[in-house]
Symmetry: C2
């Protein structure tokens, strides 16, 4: 992919100081931000959380696509060189439309997660969990079909995981019972690999791990996506080279203080430089 896109993005090489843009419906995509910054510590990054319209996972394809275009537009105004759709639902519903309409590389979280799962499975039985929208879109199922056509895919939407993660209620008896309720059918299907197909779910990794046991490999799309972003930036030769310390900037559509407070749990460090935007 990188080769054929050289020409299209040739102009970008001289703009390597531009930021990597990341958007998500809210705070969940900060788990992706975190992995990207670990991989690419020298990059400027601007993150947009659409906190006034969160969540996307329960909304229709049309509405999510419209919101994704709004988010991408706000980030393009910031002058970005690459766009990461850090929300599984927006990746599932809007990636193609964004790629068709933007002149910068656009990466989602579905493809990298599916690829990692296909590489990882030994018995060819892969579980996918995500929001209602992500599961209903069928995008993970199709992506895994491309990378591992002989595998069996088992999917379940887990609508209570996002509110549990956002409340920070992620360990103990009740979260584990809820995890068991949703995952029982996947365990019966003897999956050996489980894709955490929502950026909130890594916060429930401990409870999920306790239920599925150590023999099931958990795929965190955030890590796989960060690797894909690093590959793309290196492949296109658009890595930031200046030695000035990089800027980290956050945009939100609802309250900045709430985002800074809740987001710190997802980013793993304090959040400053948060600004309110409206579409």
């Amino acid at each position: 992919m990188v080769d054929v896109q050289w020409e299209r993005f040739a102009i970008m090489a001289c703009e390597s100081s531009r930021a990597v843009g990341i958007f998500d419906s809210g705070v969940g995509g900060l788990t992706v931000h975190r992995r990207i910054v670990e991989r690419l510590p020298n990059e400027n990054v601007v993150y947009l959380g659409d906190t006034a319209r969160v969540p996307y996972g329960t909304k229709s394809a049309n509405t999510v696509e419209r919101y994704a275009r709004n988010c991408a537009g706000a980030l393009l105004k910031e002058g970005i060189k690459l766009l990461v759709v850090a929300c599984n639902t927006a990746s599932a519903y809007a990636l193609e439309s964004l790629r068709d309409n933007l002149d910068i590389p656009v990466l989602g979280v579905v493809e990298p997660g599916a690829q990692r799962a296909a590489q990882q499975t030994r018995n060819g039985r892969i579980g996918i969990i995500g929001t209602s929208g992500t599961i209903a879109s069928g995008e993970y199922q199709r992506a895994i079909e491309r990378y591992a056509p002989e595998s069996q895919v088992y999917c379940t939407a887990c609508p209570l995981f996002v509110p549990l993660a956002e409340e920070g209620w992620v360990t103990g008896g009740i979260p584990e019972q809820i995890v068991h309720h949703y995952l029982a059918a996947l365990l019966d299907a003897r999956i050996d690999t489980l894709v955490l197909g929502c950026t909130h779910y890594p916060l429930l990794k401990e409870a999920i791990g306790a239920v599925v046991g150590p023999e099931v490999f958990l795929v965190d799309s955030a890590e796989a996506t960060a690797a894909a972003v690093a590959d793309t930036i290196e492949g296109l030769g658009i890595a930031r080279t200046t030695e000035e310390s990089p800027e980290r900037r956050f945009l939100v559509t609802d309250d900045t203080n709430t985002f800074a407070r809740v987001g710190a749990l997802f980013l793993g460090e304090p959040i400053t430089n948060v600004h309110w935007v409206d579409f």
Copy 2:
């Protein structure tokens, strides 16, 4: 209240055929719609669910107030004679601003629920449960203070109740454990009255009742609000008098089919005549 407003609304009497407008962040307000239609079966009713931006309960006061103005504006275009804010969070954050800016009567769900609780309590110990926004606003607490200044009020936000209700997972061991988790402190405080301060919560009435026991009276704001709407319409002399069968119309900001399907659970009957609107 009705007396002093006679003059202001005198012009309304000739427009009695206009609809009652109701809005909520999503489907929850249909529990209020249901009670209003039971009380006032002859009224035209237009309901707006802001399903593209639901929920309001986790969002900031500024954002909820802005959304409430958008919803009220869309309903005013329909030509309504009275506005019901059927969302507790919007009632808590935006009622005053709507009343200041509109020339029709505006009723929320907080005041009627608080008044009913104040009438009901025997030991003066009242519990309030609602979204994070509703509880943080302090509106229920202030309203109960007005009606029963000698009472003690105990509040708890229950963020998982909305997703449980929307998923229809409202009975059984896990919902009851979640209810117990949130209500334990209120039970310790020996409340005898509990306000279900969110339009979704009546769907969890069975699980809540199983946890708090029959000695705690559950206040459903929907019923209290419907009574207040009926009183206002009768008091102002703006009841619809024509014998043609009344119109029931639904507006949503996201998918119409999903609203019709999920909403039927809340309304207690099939939903038709649903239209998409954008602000």
